[in-house]
Each structure stands twice: as structure tokens, then as C-alpha cells.
């Protein structure tokens, strides 16, 4: 079994290194997905963690102030003010009434400071299941077979 000893040692070293890389500093890489409602219930924990919040961009709420873009996210009638000051340009899909994901930290001023914003990619611009179908009049979808 001596010759397998070397293999086992190498495998252990490789796998061990990878596990170490994967776990070391994982805390800094974690982002918590929260709804706006949950954000309100988090208390002080909300200020220390990296968070991701989803919602619809409220119509008329997008304001540019220098390098900061402010907007309001709406989710189940709750509002959250967001200030985006990241260096990347806002995505092309970012516009009023679009769904957006904001990554960042909750500030003590009650404003969510985002450093990354994603907006729903419109290639999936399709009716949500159980939601309203995409275009004009009120119709029911019906399979024709």
C-alpha cells in the first residue's frame, strides 16, 4: 500500500486546500436575501450584514444626484429607499416599474445603500405563473388542442 500513500497524501492536500479556500472568508462573501418586510424585523442585525433586497422600482422615484442614483423599491406595499453609489453603470434593464435586486447594506439613516443593482432581464419578459398574461386586452389563455 506504500505507493498509494503518495496518492492519498496528494489528494488530501488538494481537497484540503480547496475546502480551506472555500470556507475561509466565506462570511465576507455572503449576502442575505431579504424581503422588505423581513428587513424591518431584523433589528440591529440589518446594519451589519450584506443584504440583497428585491422589489419593483416605484414609478417616478428614480433621481440622479451626482454619482448617486436614488430610487424606491416597492414590495407588497412596503417601500424602501435605495441609494446606489456603485461604480458599475446601472444595467440597461433598470427602469421604472422593472423588478430589481439591490445588493448593499442598510444604513442607520433608513436608506439602503446599494453597491450593485440588477434588474430583471427582459428576455424573460413573460407572464408570471398565475399572474397576468403579457399583452393587451383581458383574455384567458387557452390551449387549442
Amino acid at each position: 500500500m506504500k505507493k498509494y500513500g503518495k496518492f492519498i497524501a496528494l489528494v488530501v492536500i488538494i481537497v484540503g486546500t480547496l475546502i480551506w479556500l472555500a470556507t475561509a472568508g466565506i462570511k465576507d462573501s455572503q449576502t442575505y436575501y431579504k424581503t422588505i418586510a423581513e428587513l424591518g424585523q431584523m433589528g440591529d442585525r440589518a446594519y451589519s450584514k450584506k443584504l440583497r433586497v428585491a422589489g419593483d422600482i416605484a414609478p417616478g422615484s428614480i433621481v440622479r444626484k451626482g454619482n448617486v442614483v436614488e430610487f424606491t423599491l416597492t414590495q407588497e406595499k412596503l417601500n424602501l429607499k435605495v441609494a446606489y453609489d456603485g461604480s458599475d453603470p446601472l444595467p440597461d434593464t433598470f427602469r421604472e416599474s422593472a423588478q430589481a435586486l439591490a445588493d448593499g447594506k442598510m444604513g442607520h439613516d433608513g436608506i439602503f445603500h446599494a453597491n450593485k443593482v440588477q434588474a430583471k432581464c427582459a428576455s424573460k419578459y413573460e407572464a408570471k405563473p398565475g399572474g397576468k398574461p403579457a399583452p393587451a386586452p383581458t383574455y384567458t389563455s387557452k390551449a387549442s388542442s
Binding site: 496518492f7 440583497r52 458599475d88 440597461d92 430583471k120 428576455s123 413573460e126 405563473p129 399583452p135 387557452k142
Partner: protein, 670 residues
């Protein structure tokens, strides 16, 4: 028309079930008529799905907006070519494309093997048809592309459709999904052959020989699909990157990693009769990763830029994956005795062991990417909190893994089978090693201190030199023996053993891509709000905003910035990044047409983000070496094509017998 389409899909679904049952029953009852009828069913399924696809595509092309799908993904104003590509512009259509590609593959497999592998072809047909059945369930009952718009009981049409997202109206994006799907779907074939040969306990590696080209073509399609996706992200999305470890990107990478591992480890089975269980596991894993990739992209289980909404098709995929994986595991465990290895590992420094570590690391990276992608789902199940991992986590893990694989690319092919003598090690590695150490020294002296970048450049040179030396040595030998000039000798050498030298070319492509990736360590960027006349400096460039323009046409409103660029004080021209707002039915869609000045050493990349008051927001980036990614990708494609050409010298890879072999033989096939 819509009825013909829907009926065709429904009939195809029934015939697929028949193909599964007919083939298996025919095989068990030894009834050749049933077996043949199963194969005919495969052709019929292809015909029916082609018909259904034809109906759908013609509805989109002629603007029949009674079709929900046509109204969602197309409009009248779109160019014809994008109307055709709107076939896969949405959920239902992409799934139909999946089915169509699978049925095409299945028909080709049945046709080319109509006189071969008669003993296990029924199972191949059964497996392919079972997969087909699953996708036809989705096409027929869950996400039918033949849904019509109706008010009450009346079928109606809307005046115009939503139109394909302008972001997707880009050549690379038009062919990216079918490329990726050709790659995803293709792995069903090697998988089906593996299962067929496992069920019937075939002696030998028939399934590997038969599917080698399939696997490579499939792998090639996947590689193209991934690179096209990167090119699209770089040139269209305007965020100046090509890879962000997004769930959907990861979904395309996972089967590629599995497939790469499989392509390498089958060589162990062909030449040494080792790793048989492993190959079964790998080909199955790769196939299920392909299905899983489709699931990730299509169900939106992990929030990503591409899909937020949960879709009802998720649970169908999960069920299919669960049944498929359980059945495969059972089959492999049940037939473990048949998969016994014929040889053993002998030395850590041997070709065998380099393959083993290549596989270990590829699989580890696959697992890491999977873990990172599914972390939100896992953490939600464990702690009720949905937690995602960011780009840095992936980079921290994947950069070392990538570098390790890179160095193996150089080391592996130079190790001899079984064991390598220290003498040959010294001979083979002295020059590449010395060259790369010298390069690292020079780069360090030039002031580059990024640890990974230094290592990466060193490894790249090492691997490149080993490959060039291999070509050089072989060609010189042929040249002197048969009086050829050097260039012809290289071609002759490659032609004699396309597999080996094509493989080297693929490795060279990977090296070039790594050079491009490493350039990212030296990216520079800045964002400025500029008034006409303002200047900024980025690296050796000086950018001056001369003016902004705006205008409108039928399709979109546009604003463009006129930026004069000077390098080292020398004016080198004007670049005009543009920002557009497309007028589409579902609202206004802004896009950015970036201006890129591409050179081999670096790209200058300008994005006009918009107007803020009276100032233009200009984002400028310098991306060193990024072009080498695309050059590397082309090299990789070329190398794969070379490897697909049949070799001039027919090589029977005689198994090295374990008993009674002299050491001399071990290095014959170096």
C-alpha cells in the same frame, strides 16, 4: 395551423413513449419487428417535431399574433433573421428547440447505427426516447408554444407583438442559445450508449469508440456557446466584463467541466482499461448536469439577472432528475463487477496519475461551482435564510483551480504511461521550466507584483513551450526522414495523429485564453461626468469629450458622445459610444452601444452611460490582453476540428497487458 402544431407535439409524445416500450419489449422478447418499429418511431418523432417547429416559426415569421408565444417574442418591425431566432427567444420555444435538437440527434444516431451495435441499440433508443418523452411532456402539457390568445371562447389576435428584447438582437446572441443547446442535448447520446452497453454488459469499450466523435462535437458546441455568451456580455451588456459567476453562466459551465473531465478520462479506459466506473459516473453526471443547466436557466430557482420568477416547470425537472439519477446509480452499482479495472496506478509521476488529478480537480471545480450556485437554495433549506455567495468567493476558489489545471496541461502529456524516469523529466522540462522562471523574473523586475498573474504567465509560457517543442521534435524527425520542408512536416505530423496533435492545439487555445483572463488583473477603469471640452486620463490614453449628439429613428432614440482619443499624446482617432432607447410595446428599453478599440495588447472600451443634467456620464475601461480570449477560443475550435479528422495512421491502441510486460513497451505510446 395551431391545431396541427399542437397535435404534432402530442402525437410525438405518444410515439416517444411507444419507442421506449417497443424497443425494450422487442429486445426482451427477441422480436426484431418491435425493435425496428421503435426505431421507426424515432424518425416519426423527428418528423412531427419538425412539423410543429415549422408551424411555430412560420407563425412568428408571418406575424400571426393569435399565438401567445409569437406575441411575446416578436413584433412586425423586427428584421426577418431575428424573427427566426425568436423561435428560442422565450420559454416555450426554447423547450421546443430542445426537443427538436434531441429528436434530430436521435434520428441521426438510429440512422448511422442501423447495422451496428444491434444488441444494445434498443436500449440506446429507449434512453433517448425517454429523455425525449420528458421534454415533450413539457412541450405538450406545461409550456406549450401553441397557446392561443382568446377572449371568452373566441380566439383573437393582438395588433402587434412585444418584440424581441433589443439586447438579444445581436448576432452572437442569436446563435448562442442553439449552440449551447446543441452542446447540452448532445450529451444525451454518449449517455444513452453508456447505459445501453451497461445494461447489456457489453465486453470492451464499444460505446466509447462509437461516441468519441459525438462527445467531441458536443463539447465543441458547448465551448462555442460559452464563449459566444462571454462575447455577448462583453460587447452588449456594457458592464465591461465577460464573466460574473451568474447562475445562468455557471449552468453553462458545469456540463462543460464534466465533459472536459470525461474527454480526458476515456483515454485511460481506451488505453489502459482503467477508470471504467469513473467514466460511467462521469458521462452520467455530465448528462444530468446538462439537464440541470437547462433547469437552472429555465426555472429561475436561483435568482439571477436572467430569471427571477419561479416557474412551474421546476418541479418537473426535479422529478426527472431524481428518477434519472436514481436509476443510473442503481444500474452502475448493480453492474460493478463488469466495470472492473484492468490495471492499477503505479507512480505519482505518470500519465495515469496526471489524468487522475486532472479529473479530480475538474470535478472539484464542478462541485465548487455547483455549491456556490445552489448556495441560496442550500442555505435556505438549512437555516431558513437565503444566502448567496459573491463573485469574490468564486474567484478565490476557481483561480487556483484553473492554474493547477493549466500546469497539468503542460505536465500531463510529457509524463510517460505507468512511470516516468527522472532522466526524461529533466530532458523534457528543463527548457520550458527555465524559460518560464526567466519570464517570471523579468515580469517581476518590470514591476508586476500580482501573485496569481505572475504564476499564470509563468505557467502559460511553460505549457506553450512544451507544446511547441512537441510539434518541433516530431516535425523535425519526419522532415529529415522523408525530405519535407518544416511546414509540411508539421502538417504531416498532425495528420498522422490528429487526436494527439489536435489535443495539443486545444491546449494551446486554453493557454491563450488564460493569457486573456490574466489580463483582468491589470484592468483600469474610471467614471466621469464630462462637459464638452473636458479631458480625462486613463492609463496611457487621454480622452476628450468633443460633443454629444442625439437623434431618433423608427426603432430607437439615440444619444452619442464624440470622444477624441490620444495615446501618449498622439491623437489616434474619435470613438463614439452610443446610448439608445428602443421603442418597444412593453415600454422603453435602454441599451448601450459601447465603443471598443481592440488591439492585441489591450482594449479601450468606452460606455456612454447617459446624460446627467448638462454632463455626459462616460465610463472608460482599459482591458489588457482581453483579445487573447477570443483568439484562444478560435484556436481551441480549430484544434477540436483537427482532432475530429481521422488520423492518417490507423492506430490500434493495444492495451498494455499488466502481466509480463517489459518496461520498454510502456513508453511506446508517449
Amino acid at each position: 395551423m395551431e391545431n396541427i402544431g399542437a397535435l404534432a407535439v402530442l402525437l410525438a409524445f405518444c410515439l416517444s413513449i411507444y419507442a421506449v416500450l417497443g424497443s425494450v419489449t422487442g429486445k426482451l422478447r427477441r422480436n426484431p419487428f418491435l425493435i425496428v418499429s421503435g426505431e421507426r418511431a424515432v424518425y416519426a418523432v423527428w418528423f412531427l417535431i419538425t412539423l410543429a417547429s415549422g408551424v411555430l416559426v412560420s407563425a412568428i415569421m408571418t406575424g400571426d399574433f393569435r399565438f401567445v408565444y409569437a406575441a411575446e417574442v416578436s413584433n412586425r418591425a423586427m428584421p426577418m433573421i431575428y424573427k427566426f431566432t425568436a423561435w428560442w427567444g422565450g420559454q416555450a420555444g426554447s423547450l421546443l428547440l430542445w426537443s427538436w435538437l434531441l429528436s434530430t440527434y436521435a434520428a441521426v444516431v438510429v440512422f448511422t447505427n442501423r447495422r451496428k451495435h444491434r444488441d444494445f441499440m434498443p436500449y440506446v433508443v429507449a434512453v433517448l426516447s425517454a429523455v425525449q418523452t420528458f421534454f415533450l411532456i413539457l412541450n405538450t402539457f406545461v409550456a406549450s408554444p401553441f397557446q392561443m390568445l382568446a377572449v371568452g371562447k373566441e380566439i383573437t389576435a393582438v395588433a402587434d407583438g412585444n418584440g424581441l428584447n433589443p439586447l438579444l438582437q445581436y448576432p452572437a446572441m442569436a446563435i448562442h442559445p442553439p449552440m449551447l443547446y446543441l452542446g447540452y442535448v448532445g450529451f444525451a447520446v454518449p449517455f444513452a450508449f453508456a447505459v445501453g452497453s451497461l445494461i447489456t454488459r457489453q465486453p470492451g469499450d464499444g460505446w466509447i469508440h462509437t461516441t468519441r466523435r459525438w462527445t467531441m462535437v458536443t463539447w465543441l458546441f458547448q465551448s462555442c456557446g460559452i464563449v459566444l455568451g462571454m462575447a455577448w456580455a462583453y460587447h452588449v451588456l456594457g458592464w465591461g466584463g465577460y464573466w460574473g459567476w451568474d447562475a445562468v453562466e455557471n449552468a453553462s459551465l458545469l456540463p462543460w467541466l464534466g465533459g472536459t473531465a470525461f474527454l480526458h478520462s476515456v483515454m485511460m479506459q481506451e488505453k489502459k482499461g482503467m477508470m471504467k466506473v469513473w467514466n460511467m459516473v462521469l458521462v452520467s453526471a455530465t448528462f444530468f448536469l446538462c439537464i440541470f443547466g437547462t433547469f437552472l436557466t429555465r426555472s429561475g430557482v436561483v435568482s439571477s439577472v436572467h430569471a427571477f420568477a419561479q416557474s412551474p416547470i421546476g418541479k418537473y425537472f426535479v422529478t426527472f432528475l431524481a428518477i434519472g439519477i436514481a436509476a443510473t446509480i442503481y444500474l452502475i452499482l448493480d453492474r460493478l463487477d463488469y466495470l472492473k479495472s484492468e490495471a492499477q496506478l503505479e507512480s505519482v509521476i505518470s500519465r495515469e496519475s496526471s489524468f487522475m488529478f486532472n479529473n479530480l480537480v475538474l470535478l472539484a471545480s464542478c462541485f465548487a461551482v455547483l455549491w456556490g450556485t445552489l448556495f441560496p437554495v442550500i442555505s435556505e433549506a438549512v437555516s431558513k435564510e437565503k444566502i448567496s455567495l459573491d463573485k469574490e468567493w468564486f474567484n478565490r476558489l476557481m483561480i487556483p483551480i484553473g492554474l493547477f489545471l493549466l500546469i497539468l496541461t503542460g505536465l500531463g502529456p510529457l509524463f510517460a504511461w505507468r512511470r516516468t524516469s527522472t532522466d526524461s523529466l529533466r530532458r523534457n522540462f528543463m527548457w520550458p521550466g527555465a524559460a518560464s522562471i526567466a519570464l517570471v523574473g523579468v515580469l517581476f523586475a518590470l514591476g508586476i507584483r500580482d501573485f496569481y498573474a505572475l504564476i499564470s504567465f509563468g505557467f502559460c509560457l511553460f505549457v506553450a513551450v512544451t507544446i511547441v517543442v512537441e510539434f518541433f521534435k516530431g516535425a523535425r524527425q519526419i522532415g529529415t526522414k522523408s525530405q519535407m520542408n518544416f511546414a509540411r512536416a508539421v502538417v504531416e505530423l498532425t495528420h498522422r495523429n490528429t487526436r494527439r496533435y489536435g489535443g495539443y492545439l486545444v491546449h494551446m487555445g486554453i493557454v491563450l485564453m488564460f493569457i486573456g483572463f490574466t489580463g483582468a488583473a491589470f484592468n483600469k477603469n474610471r467614471v466621469d461626468e464630462m462637459k464638452p471640452g473636458d479631458s480625462v486620463t486613463l492609463g496611457s490614453y487621454r480622452l476628450t469629450l468633443k460633443d454629444t449628439h442625439e437623434g431618433e429613428n423608427d426603432n430607437y432614440l439615440w444619444q452619442s458622445a464624440e470622444v477624441a482619443v490620444a495615446k501618449h499624446g498622439e491623437p489616434i482617432g474619435v470613438m463614439s459610444p452610443e446610448s439608445r432607447v428602443y421603442k418597444i410595446a412593453s415600454g422603453r428599453q435602454p441599451t448601450h452601444e459601447v465603443a471598443v478599440r481592440t488591439r492585441l495588447n489591450e482594449d479601450l472600451y468606452l460606455n456612454f452611460a447617459g446624460i446627467n443634467g448638462d454632463r455626459a456620464v462616460i465610463q472608460s475601461y482599459v482591458f489588457p490582453l482581453v483579445t487573447w480570449i477570443w483568439i484562444g477560443a478560435l484556436t481551441l475550435i480549430f484544434g477540436t476540428l483537427v482532432a475530429l479528422v481521422p488520423g492518417k495512421v490507423k492506430r490500434e491502441y493495444a492495451r498494455t497487458q499488466v502481466v509480463g510486460i517489459t518496461r520498454k513497451h510502456a513508453t511506446v505510446e508517449k
